[in-house]
């Protein structure tokens, strides 16, 4: 009798042992493959859990808050399309007309109670609510390029800038080593340092940083990056917080300005050419590329995150309407995955969340300024 024929009749006892061993080996291989895919057998693979641990290492534990861009306020308003981007993208959001917008202004970093300061990176996140349940979500920063071009780079930068347990401050040698290993970050940081820092959120321009693709009605696509450019007049930061000693001065100014008058940004789409990199967010695109004014974002209401409409929203950059597609930028998947894990963690901690830095009372009072 062949030891592995699948037939009828009894198997010899030696045959049973061999066959049991084979079955065990097959089951173990399948279980092992599952564990491998889940990352349990790869101690150095950069997983979502390890990225979250790095955020905690850098910023501490703040139950219920976003792991990054933790300090923020909610806003609402609308987007009025100019109709000019219709030729580039079939997305319904670009047809002439209005769609509601739920947004969030925030400071980069995982500390929800950090003190506002001019040089800190500011962000604007928008959720466009299209007809038929479609959505477009985007998170933009007031920097011209992103400091890293990969999830690994982001992770290593987080670790290098984490406070040393002894001194309580980041170890400059670690940052030096990180920059030596990541020359793209050094080049990006020199561009970021040269940016014009304005007096507040309302006159800041925010950039998508990552590239996307606009797909037109015929199915043809072009690489794009987008920005929101303030209609409010630019004013350089005076380096003097408008209300001295107000650790929320950036947010309070914004709340006061919105209460006074709706604040507006033009949504400018830049169309990339063949030599503009789509897979590296540390590199700027060439100047003078064609730009299209897709419409105007108007923000007419601000509220605290506590009870605000942006709080339960994950501004996942891969939530895109039909007509906008991801590019080959590896950061898009990394951001989407990390945001999803951060969202899941804070959803589970919702009941233990402390009040946000910008409270409902503060917004009600029209900002402190």
């Amino acid at each position: 009798m062949k030891p592995f024929s699948v037939g009828a009749g009894p198997v010899s006892s030696a045959g049973v042992l061999v066959r049991l061993g084979a079955i065990g080996a097959l089951m173990l291989s399948v279980a092992g493959a599952f564990a491998y895919v889940g990352g349990w057998l790869s101690p150095v693979r950069l997983t979502q859990d390890r990225m979250m641990a790095a955020f905690q290492h850098a910023s501490g534990t703040h139950a219920g808050f976003r792991r990054n861009h933790a300090k923020g306020v909610c806003v609402t308003g609308w987007f009025e399309s100019s109709g000019q981007a219709v030729a580039l993208s079939k997305a319904a959001v670009f047809r002439p007309g209005r769609v509601p917008v739920v947004g969030r202004f925030a400071l980069a970093g995982g500390m929800p109670f950090q003190t506002d300061a001019p040089a800190k990176v500011r962000s604007m996140a928008l959720r466009f609510l299209l007809p038929g349940g479609e959505e477009w979500r985007t998170g933009m920063n007031n920097i011209p390029v992103f400091p890293v071009n990969s999830a690994r780079g982001f992770y290593e930068q987080l670790l290098a800038s984490s406070p040393d347990p002894v001194t309580g401050k980041p170890d400059p040698d670690k940052m030096k080593a990180f920059l030596a290993a990541h020359p793209e970050t050094g080049r990006a940081l020199s561009l970021i340092k040269k940016r014009q820092v304005t007096s507040g959120f309302a006159n800041s321009a925010f950039n998508s940083l990552n590239a996307f693709r606009f797909v037109d009605a015929a199915g043809a696509s072009v690489p794009v990056r987008w920005s929101t450019v303030p209609v409010q007049p630019l004013a350089a930061d005076s380096a003097e917080p408008s209300a001295a000693g107000d650790k929320n001065y950036l947010f309070d100014d914004l709340i006061a300005q919105i209460a006074q008058h709706p604040q507006q940004w033009r949504l400018i789409v830049t169309i990339g050419q063949a030599d503009d990199p789509t897979n590296d967010a540390t590199l700027p695109w060439h100047a003078g590329r064609r730009q299209v004014d897709a419409g105007t974002v108007t923000i007419d209401h601000a509220s605290s995150e506590d009870g605000g409409r942006c709080t339960d929203v994950n501004y996942d950059p891969l939530v895109l309407p039909y007509g906008i597609e991801p590019s080959d930028d590896p950061l898009l998947s990394a951001r989407s995955a990390a945001y999803a894990r951060s969202f899941t963690l804070r959803a589970g901690e919702e009941h233990e969340k402390a009040p946000s830095a910008v409270t409902a009372q503060e917004v009600q009072a029209g900002g402190k300024s």
């Binding site: 699948v6 479609e134 339960d312 994950n314 080959d328 989407s336 804070r346 959803a347």
Partner: protein, 177 residues
């Protein structure tokens, strides 16, 4: 050859159609929950429509099971194994049905748009509620591990029937004629 009755083709076909779908789904799921790599977007875009396809096929299969009941196990199978076989099949059917619903429900509670393909989207089936989302998200993970463990037991039992007991139970599903 064994006299063990075979499953009819109407049962064998969906079994072998769905087996690779479900195994792929479990591996994609565990992979995407860990991943920060560029593959993440692709995995998510497969996971959602594949889950819904499994749900639809599962409904058809439940109907088929009433029309075409499975053949009885041979009399030589001890009663404890008989019970284990019955229970594991109930668990497999329950998970095929519940897992896609939990996935659809948790995305609804988080208010992620549920994109199937291109402009095709599923409507939310639950209110926008973070606590509900967190609970369903955990449930999705726990049920996925249970699903994988049950699949592994099913796989091992099928091999046990085919290679050691050789009682025709494996052939009742795994024959192409």
């Amino acid at each position: 050859m064994s006299t063990q009755a075979r499953f009819p083709a109407a049962s064998r076909l969906p079994h072998w159609l769905m087996a690779p779908m479900i195994v792929a789904m479990l591996f994609i799921g565990v992979g995407m929950a860990a991943s920060l790599s560029p593959r993440y977007e692709l995995l998510v875009s497969i996971h959602r429509p594949l889950g819904i396809a499994i749900f639809v096929l599962c409904l058809a299969r439940i109907v088929n099971r009433f029309i075409n009941p499975p053949p009885e196990l041979p009399d030589t199978v001890p009663s404890l194994q008989r019970f284990a076989a019955k229970a594991s099949h109930v668990v497999l059917y329950a998970l095929m049905f519940i897992m896609p619903l939990v996935g659809w429900g948790m995305l609804s509670a988080a208010r992620y748009p549920i994109v199937l393909y291109g402009p095709l989207r599923l409507p939310p089936i639950l209110p926008h509620d973070l606590t509900l989302y967190a609970w369903l998200r955990d449930l999705h993970t726990v049920l996925a591990y249970l699903f994988f463990a049950t699949f592994l037991a099913h796989f091992g039992a099928a091999l046990f029937h085919g290679l050691i007991r050789r009682d025709g139970v494996l052939q009742s599903m795994a024959s192409w004629r």
